[in-house]
Symmetry: C2
Subunit: 250 residues, 2 copies
């Protein structure tokens, strides 16, 4: 029995998130369909993370235990030839039997893209949030730094979130500009339900209300979702990187 780890990328526009669910097309189900076409067996796959409807992934990992003998490189080519154009497989490597794409993950990085121009960008309609009025990126970056550290992020968890322990460690958080594209980037040991989107919505609200960056800490310490900003729309969010300790499975 081999344990194979796949690195994929997907455009989440046409999917109801990663995780299999009834009556909705998901990334996981589409992957299982593709794998079944290639190896004629429907295997279980273990994803590294849930992603919401319409959220994208530049790098996502799933692992699969299988008796199939197809070489890794050929598996990548065969799977890409049967998958739809909005999901691609970048690599496949054999990992140890006890490797688990979710439990072995030590940190994850998300990015959130904002098209910051008074005129919308028709080519980013499902790939970024459109925000009119020039954003002060230096100020937003200073506010973002306030998220760095180990805190109870309950105020940044959607009310539907089931996590008992809402403490997370944010290793890095920044906001930068690349032309008209403003990019929010955050790396942490884990994220609560809708956490990144609420962080983005909060930074935008702070910006609009011209509040001091110290307000970020006040919201965190309040542990009250009502004090944080709106949940930014899913289309701008990308799971960007998943880190497995010293190993690199790109």
């Amino acid at each position: 029995m081999r344990n194979l780890l796949f690195n994929i990328s997907y455009n989440g526009t046409n999917y109801h998130g990663y995780q299999v669910q009834e009556n909705a097309i998901t990334v996981a189900e589409t992957l299982q369909d593709g794998i079944e076409k290639v190896i004629k067996v429907r295997e279980n796959i273990v994803g590294c993370s849930r992603t919401d409807s319409k959220v994208h992934a530049n790098n996502y990992y799933f692992n699969m235990k299988t008796e199939c003998s197809i070489p890794e490189e050929k598996f990548v080519i065969a799977l890409n030839s049967v998958l739809p154009e909005d999901i691609c497989v970048k690599s496949c490597v054999e990992v140890s039997d006890d490797f688990h794409s979710r439990y072995n993950c030590v940190s994850k990085e998300y990015i959130y893209k904002i098209w910051n121009n008074d005129i919308k960008n028709p080519f980013l309609k499902d790939l970024a949030l459109h925000y009119k009025g020039k954003l002060n990126v230096d100020y937003m970056n200073e506010c973002a730094k306030e998220f760095i550290g180990t805190y109870d992020f309950k105020a940044f968890c959607a009310t539907g979130g089931k996590e008992m322990d809402t403490t997370r460690t944010i290793y890095d958080c920044s906001v930068s500009r690349d032309g008209d594209l403003v990019i929010f980037r955050v790396r942490g040991d884990g994220f609560l339900y809708n956490m990144v989107r609420i962080m983005v919505g909060t930074l935008i609200e702070l910006h609009e209300k011209k509040l001091d960056k110290s307000v970020v800490k006040k919201i965190i310490y309040s542990k009250d979702r009502k004090n944080a900003g709106k949940t930014a729309k899913p289309q701008g969010l990308y799971l960007n990187q998943v880190f497995y300790g010293d190993e690199n499975y790109d």
Copy 2:
């Protein structure tokens, strides 16, 4: 009566081209619907060019004669608020009564995007051609230069083309690379039906067959469509710029 010239950009993925046609959603009809919502009158609009189904435009122009008195800047904002996310209005200016967005055009520039990586890019699925195997951009650029000049481009006109005079002048033509994106760029006084897509298909075929750049001229002189390459798919094509002599209507 004012004559208004609009500069727009659109993602052609969900449209059956620019030109109004029965039983299909087109860019022109969507614009007319939007304008009607804003000024309560259904006006005729004159586009600068036809574009095929799924073809995009970074800059497209149309003009419209109207009795409405809404100021140009307000018209842009109002129209953007009612148009779908895949069409945006960048500007609106009043032009002379005899200005015609198609007849006054002196040249147009198209670009064609090719995602050149063995792994497809899920974020460019409707925005570029995917080509595996590294393209030799220096060679393709040399071949592209062979298109520059005034020639009868009948060999590069789809058989359905209705043009009687198939002579066109190409002012500039090049191929360049930006990371994994290969960009074909061509500016000319006019283009035949599917001409740019056939030019791209021909360059790819020459590349695959390792033919000398002199073959481009042989195909042109043959005036026979059968000697040129396949028509590259529409998703990679963008009307990039439209030139109106000394005036700049951006």
